[in-house]
Amino acid sequence: MGKLNLNRTAMPKQDPRERVLNCNEVALGYTQEQAIMEAERCIQCKKPLCIEGCPVEIDIPAFIKLIAEGDFQGSIRKMKEKNVLPAICGRVCPQEEQCEKVCILEKKGAPIAIGRLERFIADWEAAQGAIEIPPSKPSTGRKVAVVGSGPAGLTVASDLVQLGHKVTMFEALHEPGGVLIYGIPEFRLPKAIVKREVEYVQKLGVELKLNAVIGKIATVDELLEEYDAVFIGTGAGLPWFMGIPGENLNGVYSANEYLTRANLMKAYRFPEFDTPIIKGNRVATIGGGNVAMDSARTALRLGAKESMVIYRRSRQEMPAREEEIENAEEEGVVFNFLTNPVAYHGDEQNWLREMECIRMELGEPDASGRRRPVPIEGSNYRTSIDVVVVAIGNSPNPLIPQTTPGLECSKWGNIKADEGTGKTSQRGVFAGGDIVTGAATVILAMGAGRKAANAIDEYLRTGIW
């Protein structure tokens, strides 16, 4: 390997001035040469810390070594032993908080760009056309129902089908993928990639039923009459609002609605697509997470002249990924820190006209360890605004808890499930992903799916609960 190379290979991006005018992906991905150059930097640790940082325990040094050797086919095969959605994780994982954070080279300020390499190898495979389908184990004759086709459901389904179980996945919406399809925008995660990864899971043998709302066409208890086990990965439910005056004015959106209109329903292509969206010149997004960044950047692509983020704490406390904050800044999103909306004012026709905000200062640390924002009395100000997107989180999806009396839930409506196995209070029923943890990440949902798949397999083989 020779001398330590501390030059992290940069990944080309679309120019910010160009990219706000289109919805294409911002990051362009490594070329083969760049990938090999980056892969060669990995020092192939004897005790690779990076693996511990990955919730699905990808054999990171192994797949990177194969890239360095130019054996891309071998590399993707290695990857898929642990991760069926590499093109997605490589793009949206908060790598800097996970695998890359614990990479030994992080201490030198130049961790291996694991996510970018992961993305490279997945895209390389897709570009080859023929995708390898690994052999499944012989059929066990057991049947599993998976509810929800987000990352948790997709992982459980593909793991179990490869173990020889028959898997049917039910999805309420008309397209599979969960947040990957309706929430995360095209410019960050092209929908063609999500489609490709879902097709892969189908090619493994998973049967997918769209437009099928469990709790409505069949309850979980009814599914248990036909299936030997049920996995619930139904993710997010109703959006939260702040409970301030004017939140039901025309022009005030939840991030879920705004992003669903834009992504799932393709409202940015209205009237070619039928679903409309209010565009607006001045758009304010409330919140500081990934969802807020996605909303503020979507607003620019819908043609907003000004897109601002209103966040009640300071930049350091923002939960969004650093990379996404930087992208948003480059694109011209304006950040108003230590500011919180207190009311929206409308006109006679119920249209949003003005947003009233108050300035905040940071006080004592709260339960989360972050300093609590406190309003500065008398600092209210009003500003004219066309569209507001409220991105402060969601409650868990209520459909299954409401229709499954045997299922224990937290007082917030999250399904209670064992962390190691996904087992719920009801025999034969497992759960994982956002419906259990509340809003988290793609890879944590997949990790939960992986653990549940192992536990379901064991339950199906032994019958022991």
């Binding site: 025309n250 329903m265 009237p271 070619e272 459909l399």
Partner: protein, 275 residues
């Protein structure tokens, strides 16, 4: 899947489909709705299940052509398959023995009130139905309503059939002449439901209305369908669509319904240009 087994034009611009969706039919109750899409570019259109034949696995949808999506939906023919039918969604109507119930349907609102009339009758209620339309031609489901109602009153705005006037006028005379009305259920244009709720308020008769707010997913994920009921925000697709009419903020509902009117007009004009 989702095959249209029968198509009828009930009145100018009002169409009926019988759709083969056994999984939905098996679970459908009065008050439930489905979401339909015309194509992979289409919006998600909420439509009430107007009738269900569980033995055949068939549901009936009745819709009025008011804009691009419903106009396009109307072009499907018998034997075609709808690309997408999701449901049954929403909470079903409360069907119990209440005593005497007045059921009011205005315009295409007669379609969603019909399964409720049927359900209430089967539960042993005395059902007094008031149905109305702008004129005789636009009146739908009269025979069906008569079949399941103890008394049926018909009004038309122009007097071309039944009593001249609005359904509310008829309700007015029932309120003065009938002593024990235990419940009123009204479905129709927001302005009609608002008027009904105002009329029954002094009598303190429980009054149920079904709200048709704008929706996207219809499964409790997006928050598009929010309405204010009793000063609280509710989500029509999962908390409703039926609510206590005395508590609904109809003004807000109506204004929220007009949120996309300029885009809707553009979509309609473009579409009409094409066909």
């Amino acid at each position: 899947m989702n095959k249209i087994l029968k198509k009828l034009e009930l009145a100018p611009g009002i169409k009926l489909f019988e759709v083969d969706v056994p999984e939905v039919a098996a679970k459908a109750l009065p008050g439930h709705f489905v979401i339909v899409r015309n194509s992979d570019r289409g919006e998600r259109i909420p439509l009430t299940i107007a009738d269900t034949d569980k033995s055949r696995g068939v549901i009936t949808l009745i819709f009025q052509e008011v804009g691009k999506s419903t106009l396009e939906l109307g072009l499907f023919r018998e034997g075609d398959n709808l690309p997408c039918v999701v449901g049954p969604l929403g909470k079903p109507s409360e069907i119990e023995k209440f005593g005497t119930v007045v059921c009011i349907g205005g315009g295409v609102g007669v379609a969603p009130i019909f399964p409720i009339i049927k359900g209430l009758k089967a539960a042993g209620n005395r059902v007094l139905s008031i149905i109305g339309a702008r004129n005789k031609e636009l009146l739908i489901l009269e025979n069906e309503v008569r079949m399941y109602s103890d008394e049926t009153y018909v009004t038309t705005d122009d007097g071309s059939y039944g009593t001249k006037g609005f359904v509310c006028d008829q309700l007015g005379s029932l309120l003065t002449n009938e002593t024990n009305i235990d419940r009123v259920v009204a479905i129709g244009p927001s302005i009609m439901m608002k008027a009904v709720a105002e009329m029954t308020r002094p009598y303190k008769i429980p009054t149920i209305v079904s709200l048709n707010s704008i929706m996207v997913d219809g499964t409790g994920m997006c928050g598009a369908c929010r309405v204010e009921v009793g000063g609280e925000t509710k989500f029509t697709c999962v908390d409703g669509p039926e609510f206590d009419g005395h508590l609904v903020d109809f003004e807000m509902l109506m204004k929220r319904l007009s949120m996309y009117s300029s885009q809707e007009k553009k979509a309609l004009d473009d579409y009409k240009g094409k066909i």
